[in-house]
Assembly symmetry: C2
Homo-oligomer: 324 residues x 2
């Protein structure tokens, strides 16, 4: 068994030692710029953790794990064009630093790279691995489309929102864990269970991200606070506030959200104050806890020695902002 730290170190080393520079330089430079920024590398770490959990050789999982991380970064590149986002991980986004065409084509190339790395797996496992990855990639695209559709739709329910974040975020977390299980030759039932665990963990993780956008601390969050509020994202917080607000708060909330003349800092402050008054922070923490508990129940039933589960439990706690 490997510790979480040693697995994080293994993934970090894998990216440091890999040379993505190639010709034409204009195509590969933005790819290196993106992959060098690091980030938390949660998805490849989950692949190795799951592989280790089921007694597999983590070295066999390193390349496919890198493939998932490259895929994740490809989706960020294209999402940032679609959302017209200026910053990512505190640095200029590719489409701002270069241009839209560069972000489209370097993104496409990262998608190919992702498949190249995912394909570096035992040939006997390739059909299963590829089926899982294709299914995941398609769902992530569908999730992004729902996210864009929701921007102009007014009848979004919390159920629809949860369906969207399941596609856009949770399936890739689940895919990471199942990929590790497949490479470790885990029992197919266990592989399905760790996938379901990943879905619940992924939902909790996205809700935590929503929570931090309004109630987080920039130094911990790594992004500016209030980004979702500025862009009128219909997150869990917003939808819950609309559900529980009485008439006055509803008018105030609508006013802050849809009056373009309000200065942004005032908008963030005003919306956050209503969220606090309506105890949206508590509702959100309850929803996070609900999915985290469902995840924990699935992990508890896994047919693996209890002490083997500790590293995944540790990372999961971190993903939803808890110490224990």
């Amino acid at each position: 068994m490997y510790s979480l730290e040693s697995i994080q170190h293994r993934i970090s080393t894998a990216f440091t030692c890999t040379q993505f520079l190639n010709e034409p330089v204009k195509l590969y430079e933005p790819i290196i710029y993106t992959l060098d920024q690091g980030g938390k590398r949660i998805r490849p770490v989950l692949v190795l953790l799951a592989c280790d959990l089921f007694g597999g050789d983590i070295e066999k999982a390193v390349f496919p794990a890198m493939g998932l991380e490259i895929f994740h970064n490809f989706t960020l590149l294209h999402d940032d064009i679609m959302d017209n986002a200026p910053l990512r991980r505190g640095k200029e986004t590719v489409h701002k630093k270069w241009n839209d065409n560069t972000a489209i084509l370097s993104g496409d190339t990262m998608f190919v790279l992702a498949y190249e790395y995912v394909a570096k797996t035992d040939p006997a496992l390739l059909p299963d691995v590829l089926r899982l990855f294709n299914d995941t990639a398609r769902k992530v695209c569908e999730g992004q489309q729902y996210d864009m559709n929701f921007e102009t739709q007014t009848n979004i329910t919390i159920d629809k929102y949860m369906m969207m974040i399941q596609l856009k975020t949770a399936v890739l977390i689940a895919c990471s864990l199942k990929l590790g299980a497949i490479i470790a030759l885990a029992d197919p039932v266990d592989a399905e269970n760790i996938y379901d665990f990943g879905i619940e963990l992924g939902l909790a993780f996205q809700l935590q991200d929503d929570y931090l956008d309004a109630f987080g601390d920039t130094s911990v969050f790594g992004k500016e606070i209030g980004g979702d509020i500025i862009t009128n994202k219909k997150t869990f917080l917003f939808l819950k506030a609309f559900e529980v607000a009485h008439e006055d708060d509803l008018i105030q909330l609508t006013h802050y959200f849809y009056s373009p003349e309000i200065p942004l800092t005032e908008k963030i402050f005003g919306v956050t104050r209503i969220y606090q008054k309506l105890r949206i922070d508590e509702y959100t923490r309850q929803e996070i806890e609900l999915h985290f508990q469902q995840a924990t129940r699935i992990l508890d039933t896994l047919n693996v020695k209890e002490e083997f589960k500790e590293e995944i439990r540790g990372l999961s706690l971190g993903m939803v902002g808890r110490n224990k």
Copy 2:
């Protein structure tokens, strides 16, 4: 052995009978719009022709062949954004009919679909098939980047141009043929030879496309004449003209190409007249013939009954605008 017509019909049927509609509709509608336009379906037809040539079961090649056609259409969707092209096959491009975001995301989804169809192959062949497809997809992206780089570079040679069209166009033609060979369990040497044949055929095919842009007939070409001239593409015609032009013609050519105030019809007429004066049509036909002859020589040496080669010879002749 199947006739070219029956293979074309098989591919056409495969697309007609396949239902790509799915949820969310906004994501899949542009995909159906694109795939329903048809086009000549040259790449999947080549897959089946090569499979048949080497005695394979063409039914085993239908899905992977569709994957290559979906991939080709994905590249067109993204290229049309990058080139800001308004029309494709006589209809509005996806980014014009919908918007850039739709073209980006529906394109990404088509890329996943392409992998899904390519993966529908004998599991024992999957590693080889996937390696070939990944390698091809990467090269097509690199070719598109060189194409964009060339727009702002002034030192483009005919050699560099041939390298670019090899990546952007010829490798996918070659990949189609090799894919058919792999599925037919052809000897690896034969699979390499048919790939090399495809490279030469692909180069001749792209040069024919360049030729038709200046010297073609709209009703046959399916596109407006002079598109490359309007957008100042440094095609073989343009580069050859610069190579052979004397001082006056050079000044004239530069004038027509780089004076934005010249009306477009006058520009097309003026440039074409210089091309004719410099006999660029003949130079281009010679270069097409050169690559077509190289392709033919490779096909001649293939260790397959001569009469089996007739259908591929027939399609190849059509691709370079010849009757025999």
